[in-house]
Point group: C2
Chain length 278, copies 2
């Protein structure tokens, strides 16, 4: 009882969405192992085809797109308006987030010819829009964006170089209500996704200073910040605000108990969570 | 009667969405012109604030996002399933579209460090997914994606470097039904957007060979292709198919009679079609 899956078998089983207990089976002989591998592979491929059939006939949308729609409706319902901004970001706007050569995040930024980068976060664009909206609209101003962000990551099963962020901001929340509002808004998002048993945790972010994270056990699902904040003055802004950011792929992983974040995001190899080379 | 708007006045009026007739007013004196400019600017800014208020209270979503939702529902309803793929594209997949150094489109491609580019079109990713789906699913296979594409463009009022494409493909349409299906599917999209009086026109595309375009007067709103096609073999695929691509910002321009495509797309300077520095 000491033979384990080969590396390629383990990789394949991971792609096909094998369960944890299937990943750690031990065998007496190679023959036994390889025979079992074929059996499990066949069953998982059949399950994959069945999930693809359900998607084709019933849901017709990838889970991440459906989640986006649900979140838009939930946030619209509580008075947040949607904005949609470009993924190409100027170096100047990145620097306003204090992300320069010395910053931890800087090495993770994708640069595009023409002096632009792919936004590693939604915040700079939201600041840019808010600086006008807080002038034009009465407080509080409530906006959100859901869109792709990009970071060079070690290509583990935990990270995606292109991922989908939800960032909501409420500008003009009364000082004394900020923590309560973060709790309320995190609750709206968690309820919409269908995640129970999360908790909030104080921590420190390289960009935003002290923050409150939305955690499910040890996994960070979202991260919040509040102002007045030292970044505000770079946009000529003052006053109290709160904001929360969530990674949609991580929310899906947490909801569905998946282990492979690549099957949850934008992909050409996975569809509806199913590896397509089955 | 020979003094026209100054260049900066003309630019500002364009940003504020002045009507065609307002753009070509002639004046006797500079004083008269500058006084009239202030009046018009004030009225247009007030109209902008009113459109922003309507968006804040009523629609709560940018027009391009609302159009995306409508198109998703319409296409789901006729059996097309949505896919969502990364904007970062490998050079290899771009080359499979025969877009290499000699190709007209090549100079318009944004390159990202790490040997990837920003997709200039959705087609390579759709091919990649379809090569598996046509094996797994019964014909016809119907998929679509709506997502950002990127091309370096002369920054005129007609083009955006980041724009939103809808590309739908039906693989396995009977040979004799292909032209009729293009007409039917173009009709579904035009009806969903609310555009009347369009027509189809044969033309020739640098990537797809002979195509049928969806035209509104002289403006190309969409472009279709059909197979069997010389690109198919690069993906190991055969058989008849049809596909149509639309630029969502152009569809909105056509629908709303707008003149400034920058106010229609993803933007940090426009919201709900309104320039924010009012």
């Amino acid at each position: 009882m000491s033979i384990l899956w080969s590396e390629s078998q383990k990789k394949r089983l991971g792609e096909l969405g094998a369960k944890n207990e299937q990943m750690i089976i031990e065998f007496d002989t190679l023959k036994e192992r390889d025979s079992e591998f074929k059996k499990i592979e066949k069953v998982l491929a059949r399950e994959g085809r069945s999930r693809l059939e359900e998607y084709r006939k019933m849901t017709k949308r990838p889970p991440i797109c459906e989640l986006e729609t649900k979140l838009i409706n939930a946030l619209n319902n509580i008075g947040f308006v949607q904005v949609t901004t470009p993924v190409l970001l100027s170096k100047g706007l990145l620097e306003k987030m204090t992300i320069d050569d010395n910053h931890t995040l800087f090495s993770q930024v994708f640069w595009v010819d023409g002096g632009k980068c792919l936004r590693p976060m939604l915040a700079p664009n939201l600041y840019y829009i808010l600086k006008d909206l807080v002038r034009i609209w009465e407080m509080p101003v409530r906006i959100f964006e859901i869109g792709s962000c990009f970071r060079k990551e070690s290509q583990g099963s935990e990270h995606l170089s292109e991922f989908t962020m939800l960032n909501l901001v409420e500008w003009g929340t009364a000082d004394e209500d900020r923590e309560k509002r973060i709790e309320e808004l995190a609750k709206v998002v968690m309820k919409t996704v269908g995640i129970e048993g999360y908790h909030l945790e104080r921590t420190s972010s390289v960009v935003y200073g002290d923050t409150v994270d939305v955690m499910l056990c040890d996994t960070e699902l979202g991260s919040s910040a509040m102002g007045p904040h030292f970044l505000d003055e770079k946009w000529g802004m003052t006053g109290p605000w709160i904001g929360i950011g969530f990674g949609l792929e991580r929310l899906l992983m947490a909801k569905e108990g998946g282990r492979n974040i690549h099957s949850m995001g934008k992909s050409i190899t996975y569809l509806n969570g199913v590896r397509l080379n089955i």
